[in-house]
Symmetry: C2
Subunit: 251 residues, 2 copies
DNA sequence: TACCGCTTGTGAACGCTTGCACAAAGTCGG
DNA sequence: CCGACTTTGTGCAAGCGTTCACAAGCGGTA
């Protein structure tokens, strides 16, 4: 029973630890990993602009974080900056790519080729970043064989063989919520250990499977919470200030 | 200059604080808010199944979290459980909805009606959860006037008037990355204070605007990191492991 | 009414993240 | 070659968020 973000499994810290890149990777906080991916994107843009060197302050600004945090994040992956100068953009890019495992291609399978699945299959941003979409699956027989984004849709029943054959390492679930757990189970038995889930359900997976979820309704509700909080604050301010009248929204 | 998740602004804690729901909302950690949204979804499912009462243990299981965490999260919004029994599902639903501000409708505008924008506009899950899609915008003249998901697309230049007229409170950016900052600026000047951004860029917004980003490439890369870490561990274990036994590779 | 068993709500400890502040380390101009 | 200036890398402290553990409270039962 390890559900989303199941972090707390007691993996033993190996007793003999050569302070090595391998071991270092283990120590990187998940929050830092997410930011590294953002830095990488910003840096890629810099490369295209012909920038060769960048300071922590500049990069932090472009990535929307504190520069101290940025330096700490980079320190997790090693010391590749030059004091007094900054970081060599290309060097940094290659080190982040190495740490994130982007030196290797990760084939992606999308399951559920409906509204969202179509958009994902047609999206050029994945292949270009080292995540080729290698397989598409749906349960609808009318869809099987139809090419979407250049790849023919397979029937969900062929998931095991097709995933194995195409070495799928990441599964994306874009089916209706009712089907998501079943699809997830099939992906897992097909050997997929990383899952990106768009369906609004909490997936149950074995400990060794990594699940990340993208839940738009939750995002919306978080925004809604902030709207409400803000409205309450404004109301509160008015109450503390003058009478009960005001509809003073932001300037 | 406050970028994504700009939390650390020195908002003054109002001097006279009646330990009231309003004030309480301020104290809820963001992480807890996200989980409350998940609990809400699970509970909604429970209501449909006719469940009237649920214990923290059960709900925690269904939501994929620790039961202590769940109770603490619920304690942020007040004490609505019955010791020895559990929580009344409907009561809990209504309290969470109130805290998340879901008693009010939040109109959504989607900008950029391409692959992703179409999927979002056609998605039934938003309206049904209190987030009616009230406006669609694109820069492409061929699209303006064309109805997508029942709503005609407006031209981006009309964003200010249309947003005001339809009381849009949440803006969704689904344009290419190059256009995202400009679109964001226009949404902000149109009075939109909450933005959900799908474009892979770091948006710069004023402090009072709340931005959440959904960055699929980052999600993929986090998964990739775990794949890599796992591979390294396996390699490491074998090297270290021949001597030290602990060869707990994956089952 | 008094007791018992169950579940909540929460104080306190713990651990992870963040942010500060500064020594170390490098560059560059002279 | 030296000294001034810039920027990194990191020890440390503060702040959050998570988890533990248990007293308090409630319903059911005799
Ligand atoms: N469309 C969006 O913008 C959007 C936004 C947020 C969340 N989501 C979520 O993403 C998921 C997909 O949304 P959608 O709008 O694309 O739905 P959709 O109904 O358009 O597409 C679902 C597809 O999944 C297929 N499917 C159903 N059961 C299957 C199974 N067992 N195995 C394989 N394929 C199966 C269907 O044939 C269909 O093609 C849903 O869970 C939805 O809640 C969608
Ligand atoms: N499609 C996906 O599955 C997917 C996945 C992850 C991220 N994204 C991101 O979401 C965004 C949209 O992706 P997409 O595949 O839908 O792209 P798309 O090219 O299909 O659609 C973009 C739309 O935005 C419109 N547009 C361009 N400039 C505009 C402007 N200034 N104002 C208003 N509209 C404008 C275009 O006319 C087009 O209709 C991109 O930033 C992409 O990186 C998409």
């Amino acid at each position: 029973m390890a559900a989303q973000r199941g972090e707390g499994d007691g993996v033993v810290t190996s007793p003999e630890a050569p302070a090595d890149v391998r071991e270092r990777a283990r120590a990187i906080p998940e929050a830092a990993v997410a930011r590294l991916a953002v830095y990488l994107r910003v840096l890629s843009g810099m490369v295209e602009q012909g920038v060769t060197t960048i300071s922590s302050e500049e990069l932090a600004g472009a990535a929307g974080v504190n520069s101290a945090k940025l330096r700490k994040d980079l320190s997790y992956i090693g010391s590749y900056g030059t004091r007094g100068v900054g970081y060599d953009v290309e060097v940094l890019v290659s080190h982040i790519e190495r740490i994130l495992g982007l030196t290797r291609k990760h084939s992606v399978a999308v399951v559920g080729i409906g509204n969202l699945g179509h958009a994902l299959a047609n999206y050029g941003g994945f292949p270009s970043r080292g995540f080729p979409v290698a397989a598409l699956f749906d349960i609808d027989p009318d869809l099987t064989g139809v090419p979407v984004g250049g790849i023919p849709v397979n029937h969900i029943d062929d998931i095991t063989s097709v995933c194995a054959e195409r070495e799928v390492s990441i599964g994306v679930i874009a089916t209706p919520p009712q089907a998501a757990q079943a699809v997830c189970d099939r992906l897992v038995s097909a050997g997929v250990q990383c899952i990106l889930n768009f369906a609004p359900v909490v997936l149950q997976v074995p400990d060794y499977v990594e699940v990340r979820k993208v839940d738009l309704a939750v995002e919306m509700q978080i925004l809604s919470f902030h709207v409400a909080r803000r409205a309450d604050e404004a109301a509160g301010d008015v109450v503390n200030g003058i009478g009960v009248d005001g509809v003073v929204i932001r300037p």
